[in-house]
Amino acid sequence: MKRISIDPITRLEGHGKIDIFLADDGSVANAYFQVPELRGFEKFVEGMPIEEVPRVVSRICGV
């Protein structure tokens, strides 16, 4: 099955890639959107003083 990989997805914040699989007649058989990134804010802000959190989570997305 023919595959078209779009890596990376551009002009947006964050990391992404798309794998598109083509059937024999050239039509799209399936496509997968993948997010190849994680930083783990959900974990590393735990237990942090509340007044510090806005200055940390604003770094989830700086766009």
Binding site: R11, E37, G40, E42, F44, V45, M48
Partner: protein, 334 residues
């Protein structure tokens, strides 16, 4: 090109900027560094008119395969932001190092690890458990976790490996210069651009786009060499807007943080958390911060010292907010 009036020092840029090939990349980052480059506003037009941008995912549609096809040393300068969190980040660091004559660690994450570096206080398993299984917004009955390789009906899919440890850029490749800040201030970015295009760069390994002194040197708040007898939090106490945070008992990393941002946090009503890293000569910023804070505490005996220190919440992340991967401890013991 003929209309370009931009000058750096005595040298007109137009002659050789046409040949400059520039790239910018984000590894484990938030995009704020890329947006800070765009925040040089109309000067971006000078930059775009004079330099060929050959790779910049936030703004232009180049693919990794196009970077891989470049000859080594093809790119004059790459501004690399973001920490090294995954195998993809590390691959791009090696790739862009090979393709670039000059590689710049741009922003706190590439420089000293940044906010993503806080994850070094946990293991990969602890992070996955929280993110993919415990958070209230997660529905994951099949208990799926990211796998570097997965097989689907149509073939194999791959995603990068999530490392246990976040690294700075210079922990994986050779770095020529460092531009600090979360993000670097646009004024400093323009200084850096001018230094690059005019070829007036300091010796390799230097921090550029910043001051050689500390935040206190730029901070407009009044300082009186006053000792403190306790710590307060801005969540529960109101700081005076004109007086040094530290002398009021609010933890501030200004004394151990490199200047260059015009004290943007202190002039916005919050103490410094050290995103610029430390000035030259400091081995461990967190240790230096503890030493600096200790020197302003006034206490009669050890018990009183203990009482005062315990008023600082979350000491590890307060003294090492942006630089755990670059610190001596680097991470929690695995």
């Amino acid at each position: 090109m003929k209309n370009l009036q931009l000058e750096t020092g005595n040298q007109k840029l137009e002659e050789w900027m046409a040949k400059l090939k520039l790239a910018a990349y984000w590894a484990a980052s938030c995009g704020g560094c890329d947006v800070a480059i765009l925040d040089i506003h109309e000067k971006i037009l000078d930059l775009a008119a004079a330099a060929d941008i050959v790779f910049w995912p936030i703004a232009m549609d180049f693919k990794y395969s196009e970077v891989e096809a470049m000859p080594d040393g093809h790119i004059d300068v790459t501004l690399f932001n973001g920490a090294i969190r995954t195998s993809e980040n590390e691959h791009l660091a090696h790739l862009l190092r090979a393709k670039s004559k000059t590689l710049v660690a741009f922003g706190s994450c590439a420089h000293i690890g940044g906010i993503p570096g806080l994850a070094n206080l946990f293991t990969r398993e602890e992070i996955f458990k929280r993110v993919y299984h415990e958070v209230p917004s997660m529905a994951n009955p099949e208990k799926t976790e990211p796998e570097p390789k997965s097989t689907v009906a149509e073939g194999e899919l791959t995603i990068p490996e999530f490392y246990n440890t976040v690294m700075t850029l210079d922990q994986v490749v050779d770095v020529d210069y460092y531009v600090p800040g979360c993000p670097p201030p646009p004024k400093q970015i323009w200084n850096v651009v001018q230094a690059i295009v005019s070829g007036k760069l300091p010796p390799k390994g230097a921090v550029i786009g910043a001051s050689e002194k500390t935040q206190c040197d730029e901070c407009p708040r009044k300082k009186q060499e006053k000792k403190i007898t306790g710590f307060k939090r801005i969540a529960t106490a109101q700081p005076d807007p004109d007086t040094c945070f530290l002398e009021q008992g609010f933890l501030c990393l200004g004394p151990v943080t490199r200047g260059g941002c015009d004290a943007r946090c202190m002039t916005s009503g919050v103490p410094c958390r050290g995103c610029f890293g430390s000035p030259d000569g400091v081995v461990d910023m967190g240790a230096k911060a503890i030493s600096a804070i200790a020197s302003v505490i006034e206490a009669k005996d050890e018990a009183e010292v203990q009482r005062i220190i315990e008023q600082i919440p979350d000491t590890l992340r307060s003294f090492n907010r942006f630089g755990i991967p670059a610190s001596l401890i680097r991470r929690k013991v695995l």
